[in-house]
Symmetry: D2
Subunit: 319 residues, 4 copies
């Protein structure tokens, strides 16, 4: 919690120019706040837990590369957190170099492994003989091209970086739009400390992590039926190793709807009874703002009506 008159702080994977920063720019409340650039998701979440930041922006899924394991595992292991918002950032890349470099000069490319994977087709065509030097972040890949001491990147001739990188560094763009998939997008979540859930907006998502009971086959099927039987759609189901043995997984799940929606609350109750370990990560507005549509069979009124009916039955009133 920000002391005195300090503005609140937001942590993000920096430095300036990263896709994470682009996600944080979408948060109206973050305007005028302190932006803390950190090196990884662990630091970002530690800032939140320790109260150094009000919230942290972290990447959770990429349309090409899938779930961000480090984020999913951190959310499973760090208690006291809640996702409060979701943001989408289109992912594209440019190839940048020190001024004066021509494309034909490039032999070694500095790139974060994910960025490298997403530009591989372009690189194989444009620079078939290039070597790859891995970087810790997209911006670091570019920054390292500049001779600022004992940096690694000076060994590279070019770097793969987010568009806009040249606003921050004196580099030149050798090629634009080099991402292999023009529709690539990364999903970010804003994570704060646990607090009372915000009201439902009608266009919400609920994130949970759940383990299966050990003692039964078909456990995953039974878990998924908790959602299906209440008409709840899953937009994400990702298995992550618990880590104690091969073949033991927890599941990261995104549901359409809000914990204050009756059907979601009811499914969470069912899940809690079923699973030896459920983590509620939060209910928050969807980035795409699409309303969640529900059959009347599963809307709030159906739940309220059923409860009224049950109460009357028990009281012995005529149905």
């Amino acid at each position: 919690m920000p002391a005195n008159d300090q503005p609140p702080a937001y942590s993000y994977l920096g430095p300036a120019g990263t896709f994470t920063e682009a996600a944080l720019k979408q948060v109206p409340e973050a305007v005028g706040a302190i932006w803390r650039s950190v090196n990884n998701v662990g630091e970002a979440l530690a800032d939140v837990v320790a109260g150094r930041s009000l919230a942290a922006m972290i990447a959770i899924e990429n349309s090409i590369d899938g779930g961000v394991s480090a984020t999913q595992d951190a959310l499973a292991n760090v208690p006291g957190l809640r996702i409060v918002g979701e943001y989408l950032v289109p992912v594209n890349f440019v190839l940048v170099a020190r001024p004066g470099t021509r494309l034909g000069d490039v032999r070694v490319v500095n790139a974060h492994p994910v960025a490298y994977a997403q530009t591989r087709l372009w690189l194989e065509q444009a620079l078939p003989d290039h070597g790859h030097l891995p970087a810790t972040s997209n911006v670091a890949a570019a920054a390292a091209l500049l001779p600022t001491g004992d940096e690694v990147g000076v060994l590279a001739d070019a770097a793969i970086a987010p568009p806009g990188i040249t606003e921050h560094y004196p580099l030149e763009v050798l090629a634009n739009d080099i991402g292999d998939n023009p529709n690539a997008v990364t999903r970010f979540v804003l994570v704060g400390r646990t607090s009372a859930v915000p009201p439902a907006t009608g266009s919400d998502k609920t994130s949970i992590i759940a383990e299966l009971p050990d003692d039964r086959a078909g456990g995953l099927l039974d878990m998924l039926e908790q959602f299906a039987t209440r008409g709840i759609n899953m937009s994400l189901l990702q298995s992550r190793p618990i880590g104690d043995a091969l073949g033991r997984y927890r599941f990261v799940i995104d549901l359409d709807g809000h914990i204050l929606d009756e059907r979601v609350a009811d499914a969470l109750l069912g899940l809690k009874r079923f699973s030896p370990h459920v983590i509620f990560l939060g209910s928050y507005p969807r980035a795409d703002q699409q309303p969640v549509t529900v059959s009347p069979r599963y809307d709030n009124e159906a739940f309220v009506d059923a409860r009224d009916w049950l109460r009357a039955l028990v009281a012995g009133e005529d149905e």
Copy 2:
């Protein structure tokens, strides 16, 4: 409700000597009450609805013959009723005749169709050439043997009747234990007017009747999952035609457990949301007094714990 100082009345399919009477004899509260002998289940239930009787004893299922359709249909169609108890009566039969008759003399046998069906094997062996005269009840079959006016039964030489019939009528037993299945048993229920449900005893049964939504295949499967997903065993599932068209059914269902058991209440809520028409017939102690065993995953505590957990989540308390 019995007026003044009148003792309460109980209706049953009479006359004295029927299996239904044997069931009513098992009810401690009925000792000293008025016993109203009626001709069919419709009259018995009408007595209850009109307040002429406190409750009615009616047969609901036979181990050989299955569900009693008339009872099941009446319970589906007459509102304001609740099953309050369950009773089992072993079903066996004797062959009786007017004094002096010998087995070899018997050519025509008076018998209620159900009794006739359950003694067929014996009859085919002992009286291969007999004719069958249908009767409206087991006792009526025997009573009609006696020459009391213009009765039909005098046309018969013998009757199939419950053991003990000779306590009520001056007849002689020609053969004992003539039922084809020595383990045959009939299940009766005591039905009263709707009132507050009695407390759970730990050995309870819940009876319901439910229709399926029209608009989806696999509807029955979905309905049954409401029970399976809460660890609830069904001891009866019987389809009965709704009557408006071939292929349209309602389902008569007996569940292990009591409406005040959390898992049963939760399943009823799910069923109510799913089904266009659910009738709750009552929660009542099982005749066999066997305790209902439940996995800890589905016991009351699991439900209470889950609700506490959900409440804390919404309030923003740490898990």
Copy 3:
């Protein structure tokens, strides 16, 4: 099998004038055959098993009264039979009496119990003080009104009978259309000895009887999933007691489709593996001649394609 030049025989619940006879009249092959009138379904099926008849017409379900238990139990217990056809007969009733009788004179009504149940509303209004004398069949109820010896029915003043009864007996109709439900219909099946299944017509039904394995909860759910998972609709699910103990049932099931339809064959394989006892009663054309529509996901081609695919995988051919 009919010897020499004898025409084949068909057994049915007689005598002439019954609804069963009306069903048999719908069978083109039965024209010119011998029609054997029998007293009950047991006799009818015994005729088929013994070869006295080529086939038997038996009632299996009534839209008001539900499954005919005697038929369902007989089909479960008599081996060597196959259903070869299905026929629908609208069920309506007339009140008949000896010539000269007026409606106001009627005090005792002779009626088969099922017919009595289906005309009860009319009887309560038109003859509020009548008595009921049960008969063994609808035609027998009417026939017994005539003074042909020591018959019972002469004790009755009128009888409930099928329309057309006056073609067979010198009786007069006191009232027409006295059935409580104008849409009532009875479904009959024609049952022959086991032989190779007829080809599929595209508008077929398959009837089976199956028991559940003892050793698992949710067994019925698992059984029904055998059909659901192959896109097969059930038009009938009826439980019948196995008879050895309360709570032990077998299930009589009608499926849309033919055993030679791939999806039905596959479901029967699944059912056979699952159930300790499955009886195949036959695949036969539907009475309503409505084509069975199937999603492409479950049509024959999908099954053939999948098998070709699997064969290529095993052989190591490229997919």
Copy 4:
């Protein structure tokens, strides 16, 4: 296919000393063969497709880090491949440095990101102020410590490497067993070109990749029921983005059993009918050599019996 008298070649993520090489050492057939060290899974599989190698050893899952996305995606996208074997390699790490370096001297650590993640706890304790330099492989991290030209690693003081690295490079071990989880293990698969499936061993695994039909909710549930309804256990279920849009996944699945096991073949047929795109990656012996146990309900005999039964039904033979 190896030409002339050339021994066959095996591709693996090199250089010598990697965990992948340790996996390849477990393959008896690879003794005496040519071992082709490649830089990534894409190259390894390309060698197989082009016929330069008989097979490739690739990492597919780590007990801590989960599925190897690059491998899973490559197997989904490169046709003509089959997994032929599975191998487990315990994963542990040492910290190595140029001779003479002391632990207290280490400021920058060269490490493959996965190795870095799995030793993070140790590093934070032993070297709280270290910097991380990412490397492309575990061995490359170590090799780069040596001054062989313009290499990057010389900027680092130490490297995280597999045990045994000092057999290949003149480095000294500063610390042993620095992996955070002593039970960490990586699962490798040996991948060859598509050919006829090997016989079942009784201890087999089957790997597939499947997409869900677009047009229905509960699709995943339906897919998983294909396995559950045949008693087949899943040891892996991993979602991977198809890549065309957020929220569209394919599923990487490992099943217990072999395609020549009847229940697995039957499940694959069901899956093929259900899924718009199924890739069969192979049936192969399990690394742990544990026999797959199956309920008699799902063993081969149950399938054969059911087929015999169905054939007899269709032929009209008595059951």
